[in-house]
């Protein structure tokens, strides 16, 4: 490594962030932490989009990131509402307790 910072550096950073978030989604049991990891995944994609837009000289990825942030806010609100509704019934936020629909 070392030397100048290139687009490749930002893409590797974004990939690493995505992997960390993915590990959180796969490994953690608390639904709250799974949702936080989902936010990390979205942020990794945002970082890659902004970096590519900056280096290629097109402004459209920034608009896309703007929409992603908006939709992520709506997603977080709805997901947390579902979480609260489930918690009222099950008294837990562990993902492996929610198997009522399992066959």
């Amino acid at each position: 490594m070392g030397g100048e910072i290139t687009l490749g550096h930002y893409l590797v950073l974004s990939g690493a962030l995505f992997l960390i978030g993915l590990a959180g989604v796969v490994l953690r049991r608390s639904l709250l932490v799974v949702m936080m990891s989902l936010e990390l995944l979205l942020n990794a994609a945002n970082l890659a989009l902004v970096a590519v837009g900056r280096f290629q000289g097109i402004p459209d990825p920034q608009v896309a990131v703007f929409f992603v942030i908006t939709v992520a806010a709506a997603e977080a609100a709805l997901g947390l509402a579902i979480l609260v509704a489930i918690f009222r019934i099950k008294k837990t936020t562990a993902a492996d307790q929610m198997a009522s629909l399992r066959f």
Partner: protein
């Protein structure tokens, strides 16, 4: 200068992200997620996307994280108990990690323009609110309006989901 800032911010972002995933206390998770989001906003500034950096801090680190902390407070979540230690799961994660360490730099260097060097002040697209606003209200106007409808639907949905059915 670009190097110093990139490496510092990248290290901060990755350390905060690992803490979000690895620590078992939900309040610590939330606070570390806030710091990860702020580091990401700083990285946006190094990419000269200043408006997005501001939006990131206001919407993500502000609104979304307050929502998370409210839910943590509301649910009185305890420290998560450890699950069963399953070897296939650990092996799978390890395999993906090794593949990623080898594959990520290769994959990203295969990307066109991947070798382009970052110089501050030479961005061909200034990311100010004015430029983005112009795009949002011209080319992306219909999408912008649709997003408004989406937010309205989400708000109504949350209210319906969280209503108690005692008075109905």
């Amino acid at each position: 200068m670009e190097q110093i800032f990139f490496w510092m911010l990248a290290a901060g972002l990755l350390i905060s992200a690992v803490t979000v995933v690895a620590v078992r206390n939900p309040v610590t998770n939330a606070v570390c997620l806030v710091s990860a989001l702020v580091f990401q906003a700083a990285l946006f500034i190094t990419l000269e996307a200043t408006f997005l950096a501001a939006v990131q801090v206001i919407v993500y680190a502000g609104a979304v994280m307050v929502l998370f902390l409210f839910v943590i407070m509301l649910l009185d979540v305890r420290v998560e108990v450890l699950g069963k230690f399953s070897w296939p799961k650990i092996a799978g994660v390890g395999l993906v990690l090794v593949l990623a360490l080898v594959g990520l730099p290769k994959l990203s260097s295969a990307f066109p323009f991947a070798g382009e060097v970052l110089h501050w002040g030479r961005a061909k697209v200034p990311g100010t609110a004015q430029d983005l606003g112009h795009l949002l209200f011209s080319a992306y106007g219909p999408l912008f309006l649709t997003t408004g409808v989406l937010l309205l639907v989400a708000t109504v949905g949350v209210v319906v989901l969280c209503r108690r059915d005692t008075e109905a």
